[in-house]
Assembly symmetry: C2
Homo-oligomer: 215 residues x 2
């Protein structure tokens, strides 16, 4: 057998190889990590594996999108088809005058971690992308506009990514929302907190200069 | 709410938190990675998740230990209870005179990756550890001695870890095997290949000096 430039991998028995392959498809998991995890799972007890498979099997069956913001919320076992509102939308302490538009639930939870934002959310479930065929009707834009009928809402903050598609999405939304007499703002782009300024790319740097504020 | 030194984690809905927690128990997976993977799985299709859960569910039901060496081997669907021999033990091209004793299946596959070792294996399924209550009867030592009845076997290489427990296991096995008139050897310890010598600890260094060979 000739040695190639790729490391040789001995053939695992098929049921084991299938687990390695399924794990390797997860983001950030390479062959080596997938194999290590598969060996761990192989040597785990049936109960330990059942905890993982059981959790995965009920992941989406027990979760529904929040009726208002599309955050995830646990299904009501007594009434599985009823549309539910998430803990944030139900929280009477939240500021109902401010709504922040995010692309995904991850960003929602990142913002929640800061414990600084006290308004409500709206999850778009993506961003406009002509190249990937993601047109406005693929996103939760109609639901957003429906929510903006609520006279309590005074400001919408657009927190889509600082990418071409994210910027286009923000621009598109701002044009829809401004005519409604609601204040529209865009999150600031600049130097990430804690980062040495010399490592920051020039586009971020000029955005930080443009976004300067009085000291 | 007071800010502690640990980062605040917003409460996820229970079915989602359960997946994060199950993933976090895997080796080398922290909270952040577990959350990232859980979001990926949440947004995956039912089919994609089923590939993973299906593979996990058949992982041990379809695998049995090799009758000879305890490597994993796929169960025979036609005869699920029959004891099977793994592809290595069945391979007529392997050198049946040399048997290498390893602690676990991972080490077996690491050695297979090198494509240099052509003998057979024996997986101990652990190493002796008085502190953890692992006595000789907890390991596959009786099975090893049974195999050594085969007059074809001329040498046993002990490839347990260079730790106190691994060394004790090797010593214990060598005392059992030597009286059988079989050559017993221990794998060499020294400088890992490719590592700058200045980064090697002094114990490894002195073992490398002790294990020197003519140039």
């Amino acid at each position: 057998m000739e040695r190639g430039s790729r490391p040789y991998r001995p053939a695992f028995p098929e049921p084991f190889a299938r687990v390695v392959e399924a794990l390797r498809r997860l983001p950030g998991i390479g062959s080596k990590t997938a194999t290590r995890l598969a060996f761990h799972l192989l040597l785990s007890s049936d109960e330990e594996r059942a905890v993982l498979t059981g959790a995965l099997e009920t992941l989406t069956s027990q979760l529904v999108p929040c009726r208002d913001c599309r955050n995830i919320v646990e299904r009501d076992p007594g009434n599985p088809e009823s549309p539910l509102r998430c803990t944030i939308c139900r929280d009477p302490a939240r500021d109902r005058a401010i709504l922040i538009v995010v692309e995904d639930i991850q960003t929602l939870y990142s913002l929640e971690k800061s414990r600084e934002f006290r308004g409500l959310y709206h999850v778009l479930e993506g961003r406009l992308s002509p190249l990937e065929g993601i047109s406005p009707d693929k996103l939760r834009i109609r639901e957003l506009l429906d929510r903006l009928n609520d006279p309590e809402i005074k400001e919408v903050i657009l927190a889509t990514s600082p990418t071409t598609d994210g910027e286009a999405t923000a621009l598109y939304l701002s044009r829809l929302i401004k005519p409604l007499g609601i204040r529209v703002s865009r999150i600031a782009f600049g130097i990430p907190v804690g980062l040495e300024i010399e490592y920051v790319d020039e586009i971020t740097l000029i955005r930080a200069v443009e976004g300067r504020h009085p000291f």
